[in-house]
Symmetry: C2
Subunit: 291 residues, 2 copies
């Protein structure tokens, strides 16, 4: 399907994408670049990329598909670096968790080439990061959200759709605004909460003892707190308006529960827990598309 | 090790305990009682109990071990019901997630027999409840916290310790106060937050769409939101002081993150996320006891 992938950012997401493309026989060569030369070298030693590029620009040279898998705040600089070697048939994608800011960056940096860029957000991740944890099956069975704009070229969009489908993903198309509002609620806010909870417990005099007593519920609840700090710093900042709005709604609901607890209103408390419990029990991943 | 288990409450926790004891060859007969006769019947049909008792009192008759596995708010009434048939060699335990309130109930209801009661909290659970989900391996490899008081009889405490150890559990002893403060932080607060988050999202006009887009991070984060409403109503109410104190600390930490996000203080934000991420990455279950 593709001759050459230019991979910019050899971390968990980028490395897993290269492995998945290779495993599916969708690409012949992967030319990779990472900010840290030792990471790029490691990616080649692991067979995830075939050729080390000394710059982002050279990683793009000769590619018919480019994946930008860097922290959101580095996206615009990356677009600027590569724009001189983009070609009319090239498909450029990202894997970022926010979309409006990335699209703004693409408009500013790529200008007349912005149509080559198909903004993509695969709903996949791990609590561990780095090329060492790259996994050819990271994306299989997961959702991928594409958020094309009016200037996105139809052939690029179609190729992106087909590529992710062939990696075993369920592809959905949303507007960038729908995307950012939705993920503020179901991903960015849970991360923010998980970070706050870990700090709240660890900051107490007996925090270490408390943590030593935690069980499987805590393990699953806080798994996302171990996410990569730079990546999540950028996500929380770039989607700040939607995120802070969601956090307000959350705190209102938390305080409603607190009022019932402190007043001992068992019936109302049970009602609210029941509502939460039923919602969660009836939820399942990709539920909209299940029979 | 035991002749007859009197099981009061044939749900997930009680049913799993009976199965685990049978599987380990630690009991000959299980006499069970549940508030709903159809549940008791179902437990017998499933082979989890051997004999259906028509009342809690009759479930205790002739038992050398009694497990009370009912919602916390029903514990005192259960103690009162059974106290006329307790015997000096009997071991009585519960599996409740809060301990001070259960001990207070035991003091009031059991009076001179309070020494027979060994308060126990196995750190195990599932997001599904009911006898149908009983699992002989639910407790294996998990922590069990015992919170004896000064009047707890030594032979009973020793038997309890041995029993849980033989079920494959790691047994720890804490004071009831230490227990309740710890679990307010690492269990009750996460549940409260998970309930609030589900309600916050589901209560929005686009909540259903948001939920349909959620991925594996959300799945794990909200797993505990599906917990049994009556059980959790009682836990949150009975440990309210510690819980509300922990919730305050959590909200302060959340708001500290929000300030950095709204002011765009990337460096400070990254520092706080890094702290949370490192704490979680270095945490593991039963970490205190690992090399």
């Amino acid at each position: 399907m593709f001759e050459q992938l230019g991979l910019i950012g050899c971390g968990l997401m980028g490395g897993s994408f290269a492995l998945a493309l290779k495993q599916a026989g969708l690409v012949k060569r992967v030319v990779g670049y990472s900010k840290s030369p030792s990471t790029t070298e490691r990616a080649r030693q692991m067979g995830i990329i075939d050729i080390e590029a000394p710059s982002a620009l050279l990683a793009v040279s000769g590619a018919d598909i480019v994946l930008i898998a860097v922290p959101v705040s580095a996206t615009e600089a990356t677009f600027k670096t590569i724009k001189h070697l983009v070609t009319p048939d090239m498909l450029i994608m990202d894997v970022g968790s926010t979309k409006r800011d990335v699209i703004d960056a693409a408009r500013r940096a790529l200008r007349e080439h912005v149509g080559l860029f198909v903004p993509a957000h695969p709903i996949a991740g791990k609590e561990v990061s780095g090329i060492e944890n790259a996994d050819a099956d990271l994306y299989a069975g997961k959702q991928v959200i594409l958020t094309p704009i009016e200037r996105t070229l139809a052939p690029q969009l179609q190729k992106a759709h087909e590529l992710w489908t062939r990696l075993g993903c369920k592809v959905l198309t949303l507007t960038p605004e729908q995307h950012d509002a939705s993920y503020a609620a179901v991903s960015h806010l849970p991360h923010l909460i998980a970070f706050a909870l870990m700090n709240a417990i660890a900051g107490q005099p007996d925090g270490k003892n408390y943590l030593s007593l935690a069980g499987p519920g805590f393990r699953d609840f806080t798994r996302i707190a171990a996410s990569e700090p730079k990546v999540w710093r950028d996500i929380l900042l770039s989607n700040r308006e939607e995120l802070l709005a969601q956090s307000k709604i959350f705190q209102r609901n938390l305080q409603a529960l607190e009022v019932m607890i402190s007043s001992g209103n068992a019936q109302a408390l049970e009602g609210l827990i029941e509502q939460a419990s039923m919602t969660r029990a009836h939820w399942s991943m990709n539920s909209k598309n299940k029979p």
